[in-house]
């Protein structure tokens, strides 16, 4: 999935109402960038807290896209969706932090790479 394939949408945005402001394509570009950044973060970070941060990036990149699409289609569904996602993201992070605390209390290293007692 490359950005180039978004060309039709870019065109659609370009010929759209100039009052629309920021074209959809830019929303999507930023959103995609955030998503990749999030993925990169998940792949490179070893501290669970930073991992959760990266996950937040992933979810919020989707939020951005949702909002962008919502504006593009001029509907509110996307906004609702984005709100739901925020709640969910918060819940996830809460659980994550709880786990981190539990890990800490077990005097285990806060390093996901060391959490590999199970494998194979």
């Amino acid at each position: 999935m490359s950005l180039a394939s978004l060309a039709p949408l870019v065109d659609a945005a370009a010929v759209g109402d100039p009052q629309e402001g920021v074209p959809l394509a830019l929303y999507l570009a930023v959103s995609g960038g955030l998503f990749l950044l999030g993925l990169l973060g998940v792949l490179t970070r070893r501290n669970p807290l930073l991992l959760f941060l990266a996950v937040e990036l992933l979810l919020n990149s989707a939020n951005l896209a949702l909002v962008g699409f919502s504006r593009y289609w001029n509907v509110t569904d996307g906004h609702v969706f984005a709100l739901v996602v925020m709640v969910v993201a918060a819940a996830e992070v809460v659980i994550g932090l709880g786990l981190v605390v539990a890990v800490f209390r077990q005097r285990l290293a806060l390093d996901v790479d060391q959490m590999s007692s199970m494998k194979g």
Partner: protein, 635 residues
């Protein structure tokens, strides 16, 4: 009536066998004797009644089919469990039950000292049943069944002394060689079924000229395949090697099975199938050539054998060679005539020699015999009758029958002439080796150190059969005297549907008679000169021609060649397959596939590193892969 009698003749020996086998515990020897001899004797009596009955009928009326039930019916092929009573089978039945009864009678005394008394008579009964089935069968299928079952009986009796490894090996060899023969016959039967759709003698012989055609490949194939069976059963080259080894069996067995009856089954079969052989003249010629080659080969081997029974065994091979040669050339009635006289004199020889062996507590080597005539006078006389008969000295039976084959051969074109000459040479050799046996065993000096126990004369049970056979061997030849009468030929006439009508000319008869008798007398004289006149001469001559002698002693090394060329490679192949193909191919492929899968699994374990970021990476890669697939599928 004849149907019932025919089945009774067949069933009585089997019944005896079954009774003896199932008798609880070890039956009393007297009971064994009564059953063992009584049932075959009864069969002989019934056969005689059949014979007389048939004799009272017109020649055309002498055919009777006794069907018990339809054995199988499948896709047009119908096989009846049926017997065919006609002059040829009655002749065979007479010999089988007659000589058979005499020999079991003889055995009652001969086997006296053996533990497994009952088993012997049970197996003899089984043999008689199988042999009778062979000769009485009304179709090729039951011919083959009888053929196979006599092989089994022969196997059992050769291996009678089952704790003796040589006997066990000989039995196995006989069996396997005979199975090879069976297969020839079976394939011939396949062809008959395919071409003619039937296996009944009557229908086959009636339709064969049309169905197979004369001088066609199919007819030749049938004839040759049948001959494979005959060669195996009748010990013709190259399937002859089992017969000398078969002498491991008790002597009465050798007399009955491996001399008088079973081994001549091949001759019977060729005569029975005369129609087929007349359709395939080349096959007939080949049969005759094989017969001639066999007779010459066997005769030469017999010259040097030391084991007295082996000499007789090779002489049997040689004599059957005559019969096969005659049958191959189309002299069917002559062949049967020689079969008849041979049954008498060869049974006689075996039984008489058996007396000597029995008297010497199982000794069979000529080297440890000599001067027996002083101990066993009557036996000596009997052996002399047998030797004169086989050597073809008139008026003993062998003279008439052998000369008839040779004389008829002269009438059968160039090939016949050549073969007749071979036969004459063989006749000379025969006279020499038989009298070598006779002189070395019964004349000459006693072996060094004399006999441990003085050879004892046999009782009535052994003497009587020998006496009867001696008389038959002496006068049996008178049954058919060229130019005077030929009742045997007339008797067989209805069954020889395609008799080519070879006729021994008087001139031929004369030439053959004179030459053969002259050769025989010279050979006997030579034997006397070497073995009796000066016993030392034998030892002096033994040094000459060692190579040839060794070759002959080794029986032309057929066994060795077979071992090297067929059996050992077979074993090696079996081992190679076991250790190679089976282990690495069949099992190995399976294991290899399994191992490959398991190794892949191990590899996957390594990939499953426990590192969560690796898992995420796999997911990302998966997303990309799925995306690629989607974009590829996308039109």
């Amino acid at each position: 009536m004849i149907s019932v009698l025919a089945w009774l003749v067949l069933g009585l020996p089997l019944l005896g066998c079954v009774i003896l086998s199932l008798w609880p515990g070890e039956p009393d020897r007297r009971i064994t004797r009564v059953i063992g001899v009584g049932f075959p004797a009864a069969a002989f009596v019934l056969t005689a009644i059949i014979f007389v009955t048939l004799l009272g009928r017109d020649a055309e009326d002498r055919l009777e089919i006794a069907t018990l039930w339809n054995w199988v019916q499948s896709d047009g092929l119908s096989i009846d469990l049926a017997l065919q009573i006609d002059p040829l089978s009655v002749l065979m039945m007479l010999v089988v039950t007659g000589v058979g009864s005499l020999i079991v009678l003889y055995s009652t005394e001969y086997m006296e000292h053996d533990r497994d008394y009952r088993r012997f008579f049970a197996e003899m009964g089984f043999f008689l049943f199988a042999m009778l089935l062979l000769v009485e069968a009304a179709n090729f299928f039951f011919l083959i069944v009888g053929w196979g079952l006599v092989g089994l009986a022969s196997y059992l009796l050769i291996g009678y002394y089952y704790d003796r490894p040589s006997a066990v090996a000989a039995a196995k060899k006989a069996f396997v060689v005979n199975v090879i023969g069976d297969i020839g016959m079976v394939i011939a039967a396949f062809i008959l079924v395919r071409e003619l759709g039937t296996l009944d003698y009557g229908e086959v012989f009636a339709t064969a000229p049309e169905g197979l055609g004369a001088e066609t490949g199919v007819a030749t194939a049938v004839a040759l395949l049948l001959f494979v069976g005959a060669a195996a059963k009748s010990a013709q080259i190259p399937l002859h090697t089992w017969l000398p080894d078969a002498m491991e069996g008790p002597t009465p067995v050798s007399a009955l099975i491996h001399a008088a009856t079973m081994v001549t089954a091949g001759v019977y079969m060729i005569v029975r199938c005369n129609v087929l052989y007349e359709l395939a003249p080349y096959a007939g010629d080949l049969v005759a050539i094989v017969g001639a080659a066999t007779l010459l080969m066997a005769a030469t081997i017999a010259l040097v054998q030391v084991d007295i029974k082996r000499v007789l065994a090779w002489s049997t091979v040689s004599q059957i060679g005559y019969m096969i040669m005659g049958a191959g050339l189309g002299a069917y009635d002559s062949s049967m005539f020689h079969f008849l006289t041979h049954a008498f004199f060869k049974a006689l020889l075996f039984l008489a020699v058996g007396i000597a062996i029995h008297a010497l507590a199982g000794e069979q080597s000529l080297d440890r015999m000599g001067g027996l005539r002083r101990h066993l006078r009557l036996t000596h006389a009997a052996v002399l009758v047998g030797c004169l008969s086989i050597a073809g000295i008139p008026p003993f039976s062998g003279f008439f029958s052998k000369d008839e084959i040779l004389a008829t051969a002269l009438d059968a074109g160039t090939l016949g002439t050549v073969l007749a000459i071979v036969g004459l040479v063989g006749a000379g050799l025969t006279a020499f080796y038989m009298f070598r046996l006779f002189f070395r065993a019964f004349w000459g000096p006693e072996p060094e150190g004399g006999y441990a126990h003085a050879p004892h004369n046999p009782g009535m049970a052994m003497s009587a059969p020998v006496a009867v056979l001696a008389v038959l061997a002496a006068v049996g030849g008178l049954l058919q005297i060229p130019g005077v009468w030929h009742p045997l030929k007339d008797w067989l006439e209805p069954t020889l549907l395609a008799d080519p009508g070879l006729e021994a000319t008087t001139g031929g008869e004369l030439i053959v008679s004179i030459v053969s008798v002259a050769l025989a007398i010279v050979a006997i004289g030579l034997a006397y000169w070497i073995f009796v006149a000066d016993p030392e001469r034998r030892l002096r001559l033994a040094g000459a021609a060692t190579g040839t002698r060794a070759l002959l002693t080794d029986q032309y090394r057929f066994d060795e060649v077979y071992e090297e060329a067929l059996i050992q490679p077979g074993r090696d192949l079996g081992d190679t397959l076991t250790n190679g193909v089976e282990r690495y191919g069949v099992q190995g492929t399976m294991e290899g596939v399994v191992r490959g899968v398991i190794d892949t699994g191990r590899g996957l374990r390594v990939v499953q590193s426990g590192l969560v970021r690796g898992y995420v990476f796999a997911m990302v890669a998966g997303v990309v892969a799925v995306g690629v697939i989607f974009s590829l599928v996308m039109r």
